[in-house]
């Protein structure tokens, strides 16, 4: 098992944002976490990313307890997240946005060698920009990109850290329906081509059903179900609390 949570909880005062969630993640799979707003998706996600430390329970990555590891430590181990609200380096070029992220695996304190003289890093950056379809935009300043392009850049920045697990927090947030379709295909493609393990958070069920290997449903901080998309759609409890209301 690549990633596991055992009875993981996160309380904010009296609010049980995440309550006793057991979760497992196999290598190379694409798993989605869905649930209505306030179900604890983002909190759970941040327990995995390291932004929050669990109140109780454990997060185990590659057989090792990382519950107390900070976000940058987990990133160095291979758990990388993207943000629900686009988080890029606005005044840097598209190329530099991704290259800087790739640099985190190579050098942080070298103050003398030229940053652009690491050809492996530059090549890697261009590979990633090709993957997310931004190679021809490399010289533009990131803040000038369209919303959809920024979302792709965001994924590119995350890919550059060579993640073992990629955590995507509502990657299609704010996209038009057409852009959403394109983005979900891109995510499936990344999972297939790069053999990447992906955890995807969504509140829009239609986005995840077509591309996920498995789906976990959260409701009021608790795990409601965890199964294949087909079985989740057929699950009565899920339909009652969540799917039913959508129709």
């Amino acid at each position: 098992m690549l990633l596991e949570t055992k009875g993981v909880c996160k309380y904010f005062g009296g609010l049980k944002a995440v309550d006793q969630v057991d979760f497992t993640m196999e290598q190379g799979k694409l798993k989605s976490i869905i649930g209505p707003n306030g179900a604890g998706k983002t909190t759970f996600f941040n327990l995995v990313s390291g932004l929050y430390k669990p109140t109780h329970g454990q997060v185990i990555f590659q057989g090792r307890d990382v519950s107390r590891a900070s976000m940058n430590e987990r990133s160095q181990l291979g758990i990388t997240k993207t943000y629900q609200i686009t988080s890029i380096f606005p005044r840097l070029s598209v190329f530099e946005n991704v290259r800087l992220s790739a640099q985190s695996r190579v050098s942080m304190f070298n103050s003398w060698r030229k940053a652009y003289s690491y050809s492996a890093m530059n090549n890697r950056t261009m590979e990633i920009l090709d993957h997310v379809g931004l190679a021809d935009q490399q010289g533009r300043i990131a803040s000038e990109l369209s919303h959809g392009e920024k979302r792709y850049l965001e994924i590119g920045i995350a890919l550059a850290t060579e993640p073992t697990i990629l955590l995507l927090d509502e990657p299609t947030a704010g996209m038009s329906p057409a852009e959403t379709v394109e983005a979900t295909h891109l995510i499936r493609k990344l999972s297939n081509e790069l053999k990447l393990t992906i955890i995807l958070i969504e509140h829009d069920i239609s986005v995840v059903m077509g591309i996920s290997d498995e789906v976990m449903v959260l409701h009021e901080g608790k795990k409601l179900a965890e199964d294949t998309p087909a079985k989740i759609s057929a699950n009565e409890t899920v339909q009652n609390v969540y799917l039913g209301k959508e129709a």
Partner: protein, 333 residues
């Protein structure tokens, strides 16, 4: 290189933006202008501009490039000036050793402030750095008066350099070129640092601290090193200042020094490399010109500062670069 995994060619990269190329050229143009500066304006003013420009660039390592606001840079400059002057005064050492001591002095204070405050953000960091700088001011003024001569300032004998060849630093033109060469080298080293992976990480922190942390960078250590470099170059500027003034003066440590370097940097443009250099030259030239006519130069310089900032919201050089960018955009895309 490892074997190619796929036949598809990866698109060629061109990492240097036009801004970076323009800044690089501007740096060489300004340094070339520095060669003739003492023949355009008075030699002492030219020397002062060079020293304070180095100080402003060092300050901007933190403000413009890393995004850390410091109100205590007088502490680094003063520590450099006193360290440099004291080793000459009490140790009788030469100018080169004095400058090394000055860099060490600035670095020590930077390490101290870094250890205490590196995890504090924004105004909190600014206040802690201000408090420590003020503490140094009062320490130098009174408890350490035996060593610093307090308000009388620590006066240096006429200095000269004997290595690699003889330079008489009491000659104004020789002093200028001595200072100019050291400042130019320091500018080039700073450029190099900012072009390094470390320098790029600084820009990442400035642009988006949370994101760069999520990418796996150790923010605290990178910021700490940024503070240390800033202290080192500020200390060097302080050492040069003591040589130029012929004394380590208590006014260097006064909080106004910390304020003026903010003005000089903002005037030139914080998001640029050479902006602080230009801002310092404009600021000191104006101050000098106005103080020939009135003792109340602060008021006039203040008014002009406001006028210039209204005209150049991103600083003089920053706004010029922005305008060039706007002109380029239609043709570039």
């Amino acid at each position: 290189m490892s074997a190619k995994q796929n036949t598809q060619e990866v698109t060629a990269y061109k990492p240097y933006s036009w801004q970076a190329i323009l800044e690089f050229r501007a740096m060489w143009v300004l340094l070339a202008l520095g060669l003739v500066l003492p023949f355009v304006i008075s030699k002492p003013l030219a020397t002062e501009i060079m020293i304070y420009a180095l100080f402003a660039l060092a300050f901007n390592l933190m403000l413009g490039h890393t995004g850390i606001i410091s109100f205590g840079h007088a502490g680094y400059l003063g520590a450099g000036a006193y360290a440099g002057a004291m080793v000459v005064y009490y140790g009788g050492v030469g100018v080169w050793v004095s400058l090394l001591a000055a860099m060490a002095g600035g670095t020590v204070i930077a390490v101290l402030i870094g250890l205490l405050a590196v995890k504090r953000k924004g105004a909190y960091f600014a206040m802690i750095s201000l408090a420590i700088a003020q503490m140094l001011y009062f320490l130098a003024l009174s408890p350490f008066k035996r060593w610093t001569d307090g308000e009388d300032s620590l006066k240096l004998p006429p200095l000269s350099v004997d290595f690699p060849f003889h330079i008489d630093l009491s000659d104004q033109l020789s002093l200028y070129y001595f200072v100019f060469v050291i400042v130019a080298l320091a500018v080039l080293v700073q450029w190099r640092i900012l072009s390094s992976p470390f320098g790029h990480a600084l820009k990442g922190i400035r642009e988006n601290e949370d994101r760069i942390r999520a990418c796996g960078f150790n923010i605290t250590r990178i910021k700490f090193l940024s503070i240390v470099y800033s202290g080192l170059f500020s200390g060097l500027a302080g050492g040069l200042l003591a040589i130029y003034l012929g004394a380590a003066s208590i006014t260097i440590l006064f909080w106004m020094t910390s304020g003026i370097v903010v003005m000089q940097t903002v005037l030139g443009g914080t998001h640029t490399f050479m902006g602080p250099f230009i801002g310092t030259a404009v600021f000191l030239y104006l101050r000098n010109a106005i103080s020939n006519y009135t003792d109340r130069w602060e008021m006039w310089v203040g008014a002009m500062f406001m006028a210039l900032i209204l005209l150049f919201p991103e600083g003089i050089w920053g706004t010029v670069m922005q305008k060039i960018g706007e002109r380029r955009r239609p043709s570039a895309s």
